[in-house]
């Protein structure tokens, strides 16, 4: 039966392939209805696994993919995966249902549901994979599908910006994570997460431990929008609201949390893990909730709220005690319920009133009573108001409890620990403020006349999904132990290794510190909410100029500018510059090699005797060559060049190369003739003086090339490595080739292929010349 696990991941991908056809041939029905059965069936399947998992029977499945590098489709369903699969498929179902009413049939629905199904399959793959590389594969699939979904309305500038930003940040993190995972694989010699945890010792004692941890946490932090990588999340709010509810509150942003939790048994014991995860978690909690108060867009408030809640969960994983892990798991579940419903309500408000701007909204209570009631439960649960029917309060109180309990167990400076509960309370106060702000500004007060459409209650189909989620808020608030045994306990066991003896209760029968902290949050939060106009100018001081978004834009723009500048600097379009680069590299690499390898040698033991006629010809050639440089008259330059060529053929005569001398003579004559033919059509030689700088560079470069060539020639002549093979040609020329002119025998017999292609080159040159002269556009012919 375990093969079903594989099909559960495959099913959304198959659905994604079918959606375009369904969209095309079933135009009368909203495509969403045809997609809906997939998440429902998957949800039921995972629901049926609860008895197995809570009984300790985890499901494991391996399908060979690329066994040679240890990349197999290895899937594993334990308590933690089960919690996430239930969230993905459950909220996925509700989101698909919601989207049916949210998205018009005129939209490009096939795109939407294809992306959504890819995302769902990828997310299931992330939480079920046991193989780190398969995990990474699905991880990037979620990044990609998220990119596509954010940019769903691609004609909008802001959508494209948001999609691009989230892509860059999450893929940056994903690649870092890949690095970390590869290091883990090298350290433990396995690609399976469970086997890695078993060989934990080799990871902890490895010199790469710190780097690995940092790289993997970078992946987790970027995906889960932790400070300072949180900036992509508010911009991802340009996506359609169902997407925001699904990806950017309930599932994808928890992938980083999932990863931290999954690898908790591997890294959990280390101080660095504690410091980083707790530190960044608390920082994100405070910064996210602080920034949320300032937003004016409903979805932006929820985005910063998500950031802050994710920070809180991350901090709890960092605490690393049994209760903290349990509380983190509990809050993952709770956050998915209330944040999903709040996003859907924000979508409803947007849909039914035409704006999401909180400054334009107000007094919707009477017009949209059902949505308002749902929002009330959602926001109060998010704020952690101490009421017995709100799940958010329960997990928040556990958060406070773990924050105060942390100091005795961890081996760090005690005085620092007082800051943890303080930060926890501070973050929660701001959470309270923005929750109240969200609810009261939207639904209470006077209704405003500026709205374009008259607000009215949403259709019942749109309300079903938030109603279901709010039901969860209340039911779990009232009866928290309902999900304790079947879901939370196995999940905690999967993360921490042992099952906690935790009973979630609203009232512990005594007044303890966490309860007092909760009360302080409510009191201070109410005060701050009522006086918020008086202190809102602090936002000008902080973040003020210290905005991470500005930093991102500056880095991005600066990067573009820098690369443009760099490219413009060396890609000048001037041939001379490119030739200079090539020659400089030649001189530098050749010179350095000569010096470093001590390659220069000088020996006169094996040289031919000097004879004067040859010297004279050589001197004439040298003078002629140098003279070509200074010639200002075209004919003189061509003739002097001819002197070099004829000199060379004379040298060939002296050095006993009759065929060469002949060929050189003819070729030189023809070349000179060609030059003379062409010069008639070409302009006069440029006599304009070059600047001294340019001239100096030219002289330096050409002199050094000349010297390098000379040195190489002398060195290679002076160091004898092996015998020449000339005697073979000479011995066998007559016998094998049937000819006495050895050079010719070599050309046509022994190395005939060279000659064939040399003929080809000549033929091609001729064809090219013909084409250049004859084949032109009509109007170009002079």
């Amino acid at each position: 039966m375990s093969i079903m696990l594989f099909f559960s991941i495959l099913a959304p991908f198959i659905a994604a392939c079918l959606v375009p056809f369904l969209f095309r041939y079933k135009r009368t029905i909203h495509t969403g209805w045809l997609v809906l059965p997939i998440p429902i069936l998957l949800f039921l399947y995972f629901l049926l696994q609860i008895p197995n998992i809570s009984g300790g029977n985890n499901i494991h499945l391996i399908i060979n993919w690329i066994p040679s590098i240890g990349m197999n489709l290895s899937f594993y369903l334990d308590g933690l995966s089960l919690l996430f699969t239930l969230l993905i498929t459950g909220i996925g179902t509700l989101v698909v249902l919601y989207s049916i009413y949210y998205l018009n049939k005129k939209e490009k629905l096939h795109n939407f549901y294809v992306f959504l199904m890819i995302f769902m399959g990828a997310m299931l793959g992330v939480v079920l994979s046991d193989n780190v590389f398969v995990l990474y594969l699905f991880w990037e699939f979620t990044s990609l599908s998220s990119f596509l979904l954010i940019g769903y309305w691609y004609h909008r500038e802001r959508s494209r910006y948001g999609a691009f930003k989230s892509m860059i940040i999450t893929v940056f993190g994903g690649l870092s994570m890949l690095g970390g995972l590869i290091l883990l694989t090298i350290m433990t010699d396995t690609t399976s997460i469970r086997e890695m945890i078993e060989s934990k010792e080799s990871v902890i004692n490895s010199p790469y431990f710190t780097g690995t941890l940092l790289l993997i946490l970078l992946g987790a932090f970027t995906k889960s929008a932790q400070f300072p990588f949180h900036i992509w999340l508010p911009d991802a709010m340009e996506a359609p609201t169902p997407v925001s509810a699904f990806l950017h509150s309930a599932t994808m942003v928890k992938a980083g949390i999932y990863l931290s939790a999954r690898l908790f048994l591997l890294f959990g014991g280390s101080d660095l893990f504690f410091i980083l995860v707790t530190g960044f978690g608390l920082l994100t909690l405070c910064w996210g909730s602080y920034m949320a108060v300032r937003q004016t867009d409903l979805k932006a408030i929820l985005a910063y709220s998500t950031i802050s809640q994710l920070g809180m969960i991350m901090a709890m994983i960092g605490f690393g005690t049994e209760v903290a892990i349990f509380a983190a798991i509990f809050h993952i579940f709770n956050h998915a319920t209330f944040k999903g419903s709040l996003f859907m309500i924000a979508g409803i408000v947007d849909h039914e009133s035409g704006t999401r701007d909180i400054r334009k909204l107000g007094g919707l209570m009477t017009l949209m009573p059902i949505s308002a009631t749902l929002a009330l439960f959602g926001t109060f649960s998010m704020a952690g108001v101490p009421l017995p029917f709100l799940n958010g309060f329960l997990s928040k109180e556990m958060f406070f409890k773990t924050a105060t309990q942390i100091s005795p167990t961890a081996p760090l400076v005690d005085q620092l620990f007082i800051i943890i509960p303080v930060l926890a309370v501070l973050g929660s106060i701001f959470t309270f403020v923005y929750s109240m702000y969200f609810f009261f500004q939207t639904f209470m007060g006077k209704s405003k006349e500026t709205l374009e459409i008259k607000p009215h209650e949403a259709p019942i189909g749109m309300l079903v999904s938030p109603i279901v989620l709010v039901t969860f808020i209340v039911v779990i608030g009232l009866l928290p132990n309902l999900i304790n045994e079947p879901i939370l306990a196995p999940a905690t066991a999967a993360v921490f290794g042992t099952v906690p003896e935790e009973h979630i209760a609203f009232w512990h029968g005594e007044i303890n510190t966490p309860l007092l902290m909760s009360l302080a949050v409510v009191v201070l939060g109410t005060l701050l909410y009522l006086t918020r106009k008086k202190w809102s100018h602090v936002y000008r001081l902080l973040p003020g100029v210290l905005s991470a978004n500005k930093a991102y834009d500056a880095v991005y723009e600066g990067h573009l500018r820098l690369s443009r500048k760099t490219t413009n600097m060396y890609m000048t379009g001037s041939l001379r510059h490119y030739v200079l680069y090539i020659l400089l590299f030649l001189v530098a690499s050749g010179g350095i090699t000569l010096v470093v390898t001590d390659g220069f040698a000088f020996s006169t033991s094996d040289v031919a005797p000097i004879s004067w006629p040859e010297i004279m010809v050589g001197i004439v050639m040298a003078i002629a060559a140098i003279a070509t440089v200074f010639m200002q008259n075209r004919i003189a330059a061509i003739l002097v060049l001819g002197v070099v060529g004829y000199g060379l053929s004379l040298l060939f005569v002296f050095f006993r190369a009759p065929d060469l001398a002949l060929t050189q003579l003819i070729v030189e004559t023809v070349t000179v003739a060609l030059f003379l033919l062409c010069f008639y059509h070409l302009p006069k030689l440029d006599t304009k003086k070059q600047s001294t700088g340019t001239k100096t560079v030219n002289i330096l470069i050409s002199a050094s090339v000349g010297i390098l060539v000379t040195l190489v020639a002398i060195a290679s002549h002076s160091s004898k490595r092996f015998e020449t093979i000339a005697h073979y040609f000479i011995d066998e020329s007559h016998h094998l080739g049937g000819g006495d002119n050895v050079v010719n025998v070599i050309l046509v017999d022994m190395r005939g292929l060279d000659t064939m292609f040399e003929i080809t080159v000549l033929g091609l040159a001729a064809l090219g010349i013909y084409a250049m002269i004859r084949l032109r556009k009509e109007e170009e012919i002079d």
Binding site: I610, M621, T671, C678, V742, I746, L762
Partner: protein, 112 residues
């Protein structure tokens, strides 16, 4: 002798490179011609000079100069001739089309 010929090849290379760095197309082609002369001389020098008779077999002679570099140079001469003539015609066409043979002006535009 080889040492001196190496120096001569170096001079040919230096002047060739200097011409290659000029603005005018014609001078650049002069440069390539000089460079190929230098290269041919270089190859010949590597094969050792004046060690025996020309490589045409004659009864009774044992020592011949190395025929292989000569074969290589012969191929190279022909190829460089092909390239040089092609370049010359190219220069002619480029001048006709663009009305300039100054390489600094023949830079293309930003959209290429």
């Amino acid at each position: 002798m080889e040492i001196l010929m190496s120096i001569l090849a170096g001079i040919l290379f230096a002047t060739g490179v200097y011409l290659l760095l000029q603005r005018q197309l014609l001078k650049i082609i002069f440069g390539t011609a000089l460079l190929s002369h230098g290269a041919h001389l270089f190859i010949l020098t590597m094969g050792k000079l004046n060690r025996g008779a020309p490589p045409i077999l004659v009864e009774g002679i044992e020592d011949y100069v190395d025929p292989l570099p000569q074969a290589l140079i012969l191929t190279s001469i022909v190829i460089s001739f092909g390239v040089t003539s092609f370049l010359l015609v190219l220069a002619y066409r480029a001048y006709k089309t663009n009305q300039t043979d100054n390489m600094e002006h023949l830079r293309g535009n930003d959209h290429e």
